[in-house]
């Protein structure tokens, strides 16, 4: 053993993950993407509450909902739970 190795008194007391997962985009996991019909949406916020990814943000100053496709994994919970059926899941090429 070399003398340079740290002793138990010098090492950190626990493992510390230093980066925020905001920098880890999970959007490329998805097959289907959510498309929102702005006319049907009543901003009831059901999708904001139930999205597991936190990918649907509510912007209070604009009173708008924004879907962040950078994190959306395409599970389809928002489309399934939307009371007005304003969200549909589509293949990205269908969108064009």
């Amino acid at each position: 053993m070399s003398n340079k190795e740290k002793t138990w008194k010098e090492i950190s007391i626990a493992g510390v993950p230093p980066k925020s997962s905001i920098g880890f985009l999970t959007g490329d996991w998805k097959t289907y993407m959510p498309i929102r019909d702005l006319e049907k949406c009543t901003i009831c916020l059901t999708c904001v509450m139930l999205c597991p990814e936190g990918a649907i943000a509510f912007l209070p100053e604009k009173n708008k909902i924004q879907i962040d496709l950078g994190f959306c994994k395409g599970c389809g919970i928002c489309a399934n739970e939307c009371p007005t059926k304003a969200i549909t899941m589509k293949m990205p090429e269908e969108e064009e």
Binding site: P17, M49, C75
Partner: protein
């Protein structure tokens, strides 16, 4: 517990920044993550979170990333509640020394059904007996999903898992689910409740109530797992809703041992015709697929019978005010 109830609107909650951040590595359609996000929306100030090993600990802390925007601690599988008691003791002594000036510092321990019902039960029981001030949140996805879908004592009767596989020998798990809330109520806790993420307002209210209690509080949250239940990811929240509508998982709260049904379950108790048969809940879940064959039809009847029995017992307990 404060007498004034916390009032909030959906917009308040939606505008509150997330404390469990995006970019975690949970499966698509994971309901336990929704539970975490909603639990964190109910915090009232400085909060410390400690987790037992489990899906939710793994997905939020894959090195070098962390999804937590607050102090977070994990040590081993069995000791989420023991960690919480340590944190609580540390807060008390630091307050005594004048190092903490905040009015309150909340401690939340989060564990799955494995980390609560099986491995962490003695630590939880001990921490509750010592009366530490913390909220224990159990997210119940009915099995050890993270390690390969093994059965836990929370897995319901008839469910197929990798250690209780349905086949010619057994029709899925043979044993009943452990009644964890009854065990916790027997500790004479001030606040015990059950919740499910579909009824998110109810869940957030219960978390806040649990935090306001001076002493231990226990919250049992039902959280569908599309990977382990072999169900459609889009339907996670639908199953969370169906579990209440079929009375498989009724939601209630007990303050000082006095049980009271929460609104969605109360509606069913007042209008019994709204109660759905358990078949509606079992259908579509791959872990119960084998039950829909002629030779296993009696198991569905058995599940229906035991569900009705538990529901009747719960109604009696709520009516009599006994635990």
């Amino acid at each position: 517990m404060t007498t004034q109830e916390w009032k909030f609107t959906a917009k308040d909650i939606a505008a509150k920044p997330d404390l469990f951040l995006s970019g975690h590595r949970a499966c698509a359609g994971c309901a336990p993550v929704s539970v975490l996000r909603l639990v964190m929306k109910a915090t009232r100030g400085p909060t410390i979170v400690t987790q037992a090993t489990g899906c939710m600990e793994i997905v939020g802390s894959i090195y070098p990333y962390t999804s937590w925007a607050l102090p977070w601690l994990h040590t081993a599988f069995e000791n989420a509640a023991a960690n919480a008691s340590g944190i609580d003791a540390a807060i008390k002594i630091m307050r005594k020394k004048g190092k903490i000036k905040d009015e309150y510092v909340d401690v939340i321990a989060i564990a799955g059904d494995g980390g609560t019902l099986d491995i962490g039960l003695q630590a939880l029981s001990g921490a509750v007996e010592r009366g530490h001030d913390f909220l224990f949140v159990l997210y119940d996805n009915e099995g050890y999903m993270n390690t390969g879908i093994q059965r836990s004592s929370s897995t319901p009767i008839g469910a197929s898992t990798t250690t209780s596989p349905a086949g010619s020998v057994i029709p899925g798990k043979l044993e009943k689910k452990k009644p964890i809330t009854e065990i916790m109520l027997a500790h004479e806790m001030e606040y015990v409740a059950t919740a499910t993420p579909y009824y998110w307002k109810d869940l957030i209210t219960k978390v806040r109530k649990g935090l306001e209690v001076e002493g231990p509080a226990f919250l049992h949250v039902f959280a569908p797992c599309p990977r382990g239940w072999r169900s459609d990811p889009a339907k996670s929240m639908e199953y969370s809703k169906l579990s209440v509508e079929t009375c498989v998982f009724p939601i209630w709260e007990a303050v000082n041992g006095k049980r009271q049904l929460s609104t969605p379950s109360k509606v069913i108790s007042l209008a019994p015709q709204k109660k759905k048969p358990v078949k509606a809940y079992l259908e579509g879940q791959g872990r119960f697929r084998h039950l829909f064959t002629p030779q296993n039809a009696h198991i569905i009847e058995e599940i229906q019978r035991s569900t009705d029995e538990r529901w009747e017992k719960l109604l009696q307990k709520c009516a009599s005010g006994a635990t």
